[in-house]
């Protein structure tokens, strides 16, 4: 083989490898990216139905209940503006506590409840997952307008 053909061969081979990698990456991205939504966004129907996503916020104090015969737990996640009920079957992580930050991954059921397949609560006691902190911050910033809406709704 001539050096030039060989070099061409290498370039074609390299491009093929790169193309294959790009195809794998795009395909994996399309089916495996998980988006994050705040309870306010979920309440506003911005979250997808039937596709997995993540939700984050604080575990509402006093909201944790246990099913007596299985490992199913129910709790509510709040960003202080909106609250979403969450159901989860399995073991909760060590740092899961009422009033602390949490991130859960799962799907939204037709009943409006979030069915978590995974509950994440990491780091130490004082640490809040950035996503959860962000959700609370966003909700607080939007508080003035949203409170207005709620009062109007309540008055009706």
């Amino acid at each position: 083989m001539k050096p030039r053909t060989r070099r061409l061969g290498w370039i074609v081979g390299g491009l093929a490898a790169l193309g294959l990698a790009a195809a794998l990456v795009l395909n994996a991205f399309r089916s495996n990216l998980v988006f994050f939504f705040t309870p306010s966004q979920v309440a506003a129907h911005e979250a997808p139905q039937g596709r997995a996503f993540r939700i984050g916020g604080l575990v509402e104090a006093g909201s944790l209940t246990r099913d007596p015969n299985s490992l199913t737990v129910h709790f509510r996640v709040t960003d202080t503006a909106q609250t979403i009920p969450v159901a989860y079957t399995g073991l909760l992580p060590d740092l899961f506590k009422e009033g602390k930050g949490v991130v859960a991954q799962g799907t939204l059921g037709p009943d409006g409840a979030f069915h978590a397949t995974e509950v994440l609560a990491k780091h130490d006691e004082n640490y809040m997952p950035p996503a959860a902190a962000d959700a609370v911050k966003k909700a607080r910033e939007g508080m003035s307008t949203r409170t207005l809406v709620t009062t109007q709704g309540a008055g009706r």
Binding site: M1, P3, R6, G9, W10, G13, G14, A17, L18, L20, A21, L24, V25, N27, A28, F29, S31, N32, L33, V34, F35, F36, R54, R66, P68, N69, S70, L71, G90, L91, L92, D94, L95, V103, Q105, K122, H123, D124, E125, Y127, P129, P130, A131, D134
Partner: protein, 665 residues
């Protein structure tokens, strides 16, 4: 007083590092031997100063000096001695000091073991390492001083994060950093070669052992971290594709490519520019890893620091180091040259393919790790890229590289004949395919993934055996021992590391294929059957620990009615922080682990009642770490090769003269 001495030593170290990085470089440029000769003593002075500073910090931790901010935030008087020591690198500041210490240590090692290097090259290598050190010392002193005082002093420390109170904390970070920072040597050799415009087989021989040692340490560091996560996080996983893990895995992938590419540069003089680029890349990724983990940009277990000022500093530092070296590469790579030509089917071409795949795989990991950060930074929404992405991309990319691993060592340099390879390997291929197809039936479940994983494992093992047999048979010496001794340690190192990959793949395949995970609710006295085992829960009893209260469960494991092990999983509540920690109990076996960890009491405030419990069977999981240790062992064995010590010296005269001539240009 001790912290002030440490602080002062760091300032002195910075001054020495400035001298170490500028004067020898100037000396090398001007051809002034006296300036170049400063490199070695400066490297040593810097090492002793940093060791002293580190010792001061360690002494503050061990002596419970809560007037030091760092100690007050990360330690506690109840903390056992070994963890007070390990807490030295438990914080952001301390871990950066450890980084700097490792860098000073590697520079010191270069100054000791490189007597045979031409003075110009040595001066440049040590100066470049000094430049990196300047960056880290500036960062420490201006944004993250570990010796900052706390006024008024705290009466008691806030405690080390309980997750880090583990023997893993004592060895995992030093090993990992040895690896990370070790790539700075390869990097500095590469930059020195670019500056001098000379890169030959001797250069590759000099930088090869350093790179291999760094790679071996990194391998051990990653394996230790993975094992630690397995028993301490309580979920029984060994790799989560967490950004922090990826941060250490990307330099590893690039480092793996680099040690192979260096082999080609040393033996055949080919791949020159590519080797230099990989050396720059490997160290850049180490720096990027430090940035990812240390700037607090990630949501993950390791990110206990959050301060944007630090992030900006590291980002600027990254830009200077990576940008600067790439610009230098662009200017000088032409001078270094591509190196020799080779045939389409040859050991070189297979190693090149291996390199391309490793780098592409690294890029896919990089993309998955950074993409969410970019989206977040640009306010385009928050996403997470989880294990499914990495599984879907990484395995198919790596499979061909692993397949080539079986052929590469048998292929001849320069030009290999395909028919010859086919005759030598057809039986190996047949054996591997047949066994891989049949084995899953014996093990109980057949899936294409299990068969594929087993095929790759068997393929490596069988080709290695074939290779070894042919090598021994081809030896002209008499007697088996003499034939064995005819091969160099680096040859055995290669075989061992490749077998390590096989063992690792076997572990991954079998644990993914046959693991059983059950989260169950267990009343006291209740049993659960998992696989062939019965796990009987005998309840939980409270008891004291050194700095925590423990809730210890008792679980009896029976097989066919016979008691084989009593496991004691623990739940700890740490006194200082009130934080809970799960410690799994694992019955380790070479064919698989039995893993039990406690969830929570299911009846409120009644720890003596029913609990949620994780009961896992993890077949062959220890092979994962065993494989990694074999790889690292192979690396160390390869470095023991005599040629790195003697051959280099023999070439001294000629290359030194040549290098001097090159520098004088």
């Amino acid at each position: 007083m001790i912290p002030e001495l440490g602080h002062f030593a760091l300032i002195l170290a910075l001054l020495v590092a400035l001298a170490q990085s500028t004067l020898p470089l100037a000396g090398a440029a001007l051809g002034e031997p006296r300036l170049m000769a400063l490199a070695r003593p400066a490297a040593r002075a810097q090492f002793f100063l940093v060791v002293f500073a580190f010792a001061c910090l360690a002494a503050s931790f061990i002596g419970n000096d809560f007037s030091v901010q760092n100690v007050a935030t990360n330690s506690n008087s109840e903390l056992p001695l070994q963890y007070r020591f390990a807490a030295t690198w438990g914080s952001h500041e301390g871990s950066l000091l450890l980084w700097t210490l490792m860098l000073a240590g590697w520079t010191f090692a270069v100054s000791v073991f490189s007597r045979h290097l031409p003075p110009v090259l040595l001066a440049r290598v040590i100066a470049v390492m000094g430049l990196v050190s300047v960056g880290f010392l500036l960062f420490l002193l201006f944004t993250s001083n570990p010796f900052d005082r706390l006024v008024p002093a705290a009466a008691e420390g806030r405690d080390l994060n309980p997750l880090l109170q583990d023997p893993g904390m004592v060895i995992h970070p030093p090993m990992l950093y040895m690896g990370y920072v070790g790539f700075s040597v390869a990097f500095s050799f590469a930059i020195a070669a670019l500056l001098g415009g000379r890169l030959d087989a001797t250069w590759a021989r000099w930088s090869r052992p350093w790179t291999t040692v760094a790679w071996a340490f990194l391998t051990i560091g990653i394996a230790l971290g993975s094992g630690w996560a397995y028993y301490t996080l309580g979920w029984g996983g060994w790799w989560f594709w967490d950004p922090v893990e990826n941060a250490s895995f990307m330099p590893w992938l690039t480092g793996t490519a680099l040690i192979h590419s260096l082999a080609v540069t040393e033996k055949r003089g080919a791949f020159k520019s590519w080797t230099v680029l990989l050396a720059i890349l490997a160290f850049s990724l180490s720096l990027l890893g430090t940035f990812l983990v240390r700037s607090g940009v990630l949501t993950s277990v390791h990110a206990f620091a959050t301060d944007p000022k630090r992030g900006v500093f590291i980002l600027a530092f990254l830009a200077i180091v990576i940008g600067g070296s790439l610009i230098l590469f662009a200017y000088r790579a032409g001078k270094v040259g591509l190196g020799g030509a080779f045939g389409t089917v040859s050991r070189e071409s297979m190693l090149l393919a291996n390199n391309v795949v490793l780098v592409v795989a690294m890029a896919s990991v990089l993309l998955g790790t950074l993409y969410p950060l970019f989206l977040d930074a640009l306010n385009l929404g928050k996403i997470s890229v989880g294990p499914p992405y990495f599984d879907a991309v990484f395995y198919p990319l790596m499979a061909p590289a692993v397949f080539l691993m079986g052929i590469g060592p048998l292929a001849r340099w320069n030009r290999a004949a395909v028919p010859d390879l086919w005759t030598r390997l057809r039986w190996a291929l047949a054996v591997a395919i047949v066994a891989a197809v049949l084995l899953p039936f014996v093990l109980g479940r057949w899936t294409p993934l299990i068969a594929a994983g087993l095929f790759l494992t068997l393929w490596i093992v069988v080709t290695t055996v074939v290779h070894f047999r042919q090598r021994i048979a081809g030896s002209h010496r008499k007697g088996l021992l003499a034939k064995l001794a005819a091969n160099s340690p680096s040859y055995y190192g290669m075989l061992l590391a490749h077998l390590g990959v096989a063992v690792f793949i076997a572990g991954v395949t079998l644990v993914k294929g046959y693991e059983v995970e059950q989260d169950v609710r267990l009343d006291v006295g209740q049993s659960v059957e998992v696989g062939p085992y019965a796990f009987k829960f005998l309840g939980v009893t409270p008891g004291p620990g050194p700095n925590y209260r423990a809730l210890t469960g008792t679980v009896e494991v029976r097989k066919a009615g016979r008691l084989i092990e009593t496991l004691k999983p623990e739940k700890r509540i740490y006194n200082a922080s009130g934080q809970a920690m799960t410690i799994a109990a694992i019955d380790i076996g070479i064919l698989g682990d039995r893993y039990v960890s406690l969830g929570e009491p299911l009846v409120e405030d009644d720890v003596a009642g029913a609990w949620s419990v994780r009961v896992y069977l993890k077949p062959f999981i220890d092979w994962i770490w065993g494989g990694a240790f074999l790889m690292a062992l192979g690396g160390f064995l390869a470095v023991a090769d005599r040629r790195y010590r003697f051959a280099a010296r023999r070439k001294l005269a000629s290359s030194a003269a040549a290098a001097d001539a090159g520098a004088a240009e």
